[in-house]
């Protein structure tokens, strides 16, 4: 018996040394500022080609092939980049009518999108139409308030995804708009819409408390704000009613903001809310700078918009 104990002790000790070794490695890489870049689009609505020179409003703007160049340039400068989309990828040009979203997903995969959430127009060919295009997407979809368990999309959409970039843990969760009255029930079928605020509270608990994420992002298709019904759930109302979210990336309302909005959360802390209009005309870019606690204590952060 004594000999067996000794062997177990020895194994435990060597295991600890190994773990300790990994620990040291991960600590040594953190003695500098780490920059995380979040790039985002919303409501691109199948706008693959740029607007023509004759267009009355958006002449020569947009276009996936130009967006690709811009994203590539940014990635070269900021290797720790995440590229996100806030939904309504589908519907708006004949590309969608012809190919059902195949080209949109293939191009987003080529541009190396990391994650997207689902907009109401992404149901325009029915939930089966969305499901049929999933093989063309190399990126994942997140939604914390659409329950797909009784649909074909079951297991294909997770509530959140966690990314690790140079030791920084980034949690991203998705929120979708109420479908009843906006989308034909035959299209979304048994998709259940859950309360976005409750879903967000659960997500921040998981991502902040359980997963200890350094950065929490909400990818929302709720809409920026509704001036005719100001109490309706929107990104600005979501920001006020929750805590621990650092950035809300919005969509649906096709809102062109002069600059990202700095809102206050339930605890009075700052939350950034951004949306970049529609049709791939703009790309949002938010840079987060992190420093290890050993070099600088958290004394609040500066926001430059």
């Amino acid at each position: 018996m004594k000999r067996r104990n000794f062997i177990q002790q020895a194994t435990a000790a060597s295991a600890l040394i190994t773990v300790g070794g990994y620990g040291l490695q991960s600590f040594t890489t953190t003695s500098k500022t780490t920059k995380i870049t979040i790039l985002h689009t919303n409501d691109v609505h199948s706008h693959i080609d740029a607007f023509g020179p004759e267009d009355g409003r958006n002449a020569n703007k947009g276009g996936v092939a130009r967006r690709a160049t811009l994203i590539e340039n940014i990635r070269t400068q900021s290797p720790n980049t995440l590229l996100l989309d806030a939904g309504d990828i589908f519907q708006g040009t004949p590309y969608f009518n012809y190919y059902g979203g195949e080209l949109e997903f293939k191009l987003m995969s080529k541009l190396k999108y990391d994650l997207a959430t689902i907009g109401n127009h992404d149901f325009d060919n029915g939930i089966d139409g969305l499901y049929a295009q999933l093989p063309h997407a190399s990126f994942n979809f997140v939604s914390a308030n659409y329950d797909f368990s009784n649909t074909v999309m079951d297991t294909h959409v997770k509530p959140y995804q966690i990314f690790k970039k140079e030791g920084i843990k980034i949690g991203v969760f998705g929120l979708g708009i109420r479908l009843n009255g906006l989308v034909d029930k035959n299209m979304y079928k048994e998709t259940q819409y859950l309360d976005p605020i409750e879903a967000a509270q659960e997500m921040t608990r998981i991502l902040k408390t359980d997963e200890q994420c350094d950065l929490i992002i909400c990818l929302s298709h709720l809409g920026y704000h509704y001036s005719n019904s100001p109490k309706k759930i929107s990104d600005l109302n979501l920001a006020k009613a929750t805590k621990d979210i650092d950035l809300i990336i919005g969509g649906h309302t096709h809102t062109f903001l002069p600059k990202p909005t700095v809102a206050q959360n339930l605890e009075g802390k700052n939350v950034l809310v951004n949306q970049v209009g529609c049709y791939g005309i703009n790309l949002g870019k938010i840079d987060f700078y992190f420093e290890p606690d050993s070099t600088k204590k958290a004394e609040g952060k500066s926001i430059i918009v």
Partner: protein
Amino acid sequence: MKFKPLFLLLLIGLMTSCKQEPYSLTKIEGKQITINDSLAIDEDIDAFIKPFRESVNKDMETVLSYSPKTYSKRDGEFNTAIGNLMADAVYKQSNLIFNKRTGKNIDMVLLNYGGIRSIISKGNITTRTAFQIMPFENSIVVVALKGQQIDSLTYYLSKAKRAHPISGLELNLDNHFTITKALIKDKKIKKDKVYYVATNDYLYSGGDRMNFFKTNDSLYVLDYKIRNAMLDYFKKVDTINPKIDNRFIKTK
């Protein structure tokens, strides 16, 4: 064996102590970059899109018919040339299918003003024209409505004060927006008769608050898109010639 729990505890302790050395967010910079022609085109991406673009554009440019004038849904008070064209085209095209399938005929068509998404410009009518006036994938359904429900339908139209496209129905309002004449296929509407009303699936589901479709005797799903009905209609007609008429008018 006593050591196992201790070993686990040690491991957990070590891992959480590692976690307690987190990062602090010290600075955020946010901006928006406009994508315009100052950015170079990514050649690989453009080459990937090219065959799709060429295929779509070739189809879009196919000439189907000719429009002698520019027609807009804003030209007309309670009925418009473009709305009449759409409702009549939907009637003609979908009745072919409905009659073949059921032996019955469609009595009237109701679409919505908001469903006309663009003008028809003077000149060639191409596939792109049909995609512009109807970009959505809405399909035609035929709803069997009793005379009472038709009364709700005509009441809705009398209050809506918009040129919702109709075909087969004739509706006159006095200057207080009260219905003075309501005929389907030139005959008075009978309370117990069943009428076959063609519309789109969006309106059938209560779009534009057209709730009168809910109480129906039966529903026929044609699996025929509004846009395809327009495309098929344009292919048959050399030159369109829609007109504002007396199908829906109000006495001044």
